[in-house]
């Protein structure tokens, strides 16, 4: 055995004890690492830190997303405005082209104006002829008041005959029908009540129409036959035909 061997195998010297003392803290750390209470604090700290970092990162990502979204929205908005502008310009171009086309063929427009005058003259002449013709006939009948009275009388008679006749026929056909006779007495009574109600309604309607005709007859007194009256009867627009030329343009 050499010295070296002795030193290596000899029991530990106080110096070794010192060295051992140096190792103590290592052992302590190891021990403290194993103790859960010591273990908790640093880990908790790390989680809070990481959580804080994570939160910041998430915030940054969200901000980035928001900015991206806003940029897209802005771009969309700009595009919308541009497309609107484009559409308006296209519309304006179409209108201008139409206007230019009309002006390039303006003789046609003048021709239409001439034709309007021509046909208005035809209408006015036609109305004059028809008015004179009708006025002569009305005079022969005793004047417009008499003509109107006869007309309204005829209308009254037509109304009375038409309403009474049509309803009576309907009631008769129901009462004589086989289906009606096959019904029970109660059902027949119910039907009769319904028909009576209908008859009353018709009577009321007829009376109101007759009253209206009476009122019209009253108001037609002292009335004269006019061109407006003729236009109404011919279903033509009086104002349109007899409009002044200056009002048309």
């Amino acid at each position: 055995m050499d010295d070296t061997t002795l030193v290596e195998s000899s029991p530990q010297k106080p110096q070794d004890k010192e060295n051992r003392a140096d190792t103590v803290p290592t052992t302590k750390v190891t021990q403290s690492f194993l103790v859960p209470t010591n273990l908790g604090l640093p880990i908790k700290k790390d989680i809070t830190k990481e959580y804080s970092i994570g939160k910041k990162q998430v915030k940054k990502i969200e901000e980035k997303k928001l900015i991206k979204h806003l940029n897209i929205q802005c771009e969309k908005y700009d595009l919308k405005i541009l497309y609107k502008e484009k559409t308006e310009l296209q519309k304006e171009i179409t209108q201008l082209k139409t206007g230019i086309h009309i002006l390039q063929n303006y003789e046609k427009e003048l021709k239409v104006k001439e034709l309007i005058t021509k046909w208005r003259d035809v209408c006015q002449a036609g109305m004059s002829y028809m008015y004179n013709s009708a006025a002569i006939k009305i005079d022969r009948m005793g004047g417009f008041e008499e003509f109107r009275r006869k007309e309204l009388e005829n209308e009254k008679r037509r109304l009375e005959y038409q309403m009474d006749d049509s309803l009576q026929l309907e009631v008769d056909s129901i009462l004589e029908s086989e289906e009606f006779n096959n019904l029970t007495i109660d059902d027949q009574e119910e039907y009769k009540t319904q028909m009576n109600e209908k008859l009353e309604e018709m009577e009321k309607m007829k009376n109101s129409k007759l009253e209206a005709l009476e009122a019209e007859m009253e108001s037609s007194r002292n009335q004269t036959f006019t061109m407006q009256e003729l236009a109404k009867r011919l279903k033509v627009d009086y104002k349109f035909i007899f409009l002044e030329e200056t009002d048309i343009d």
Binding site: E75, L96, G99, I100, I102, G126, Y129
Partner: protein
């Protein structure tokens, strides 16, 4: 987006040149209406023409029936052409 901007620019130029052309022509015929008003006026005139022609023909037909004549004969009497 840039293509669209270029397209709009080109449309604006086209619009300006058409406006110039329209202004020159409207000056020539002493027209104060803008293109839209002019187009509306044209439609209004055509509508008036059609309505008056229809009414005129209807009245002439009534006269012809009353006098046992043809529409053509009535127009001849009035010394008016029935073809436009």
């Amino acid at each position: 987006m840039n293509d669209l901007k270029l397209e709009i620019e080109s449309l604006k130029n086209h619009c300006d040149s058409l406006q110039l052309e329209y202004n020159e022509l409207s000056k020539k015929y002493n027209i104060n209406e803008d293109p839209k008003q002019l187009a509306n006026l044209r439609i209004k005139l055509l509508k008036q023409y059609n309505e008056l022609r229809d009414t005129g023909l209807k009245l002439v037909q009534l006269i012809a029936q009353e006098r046992n004549l043809s529409i053509k004969e009535i127009f001849q009497e009035m010394d008016i052409s029935m073809h436009d």
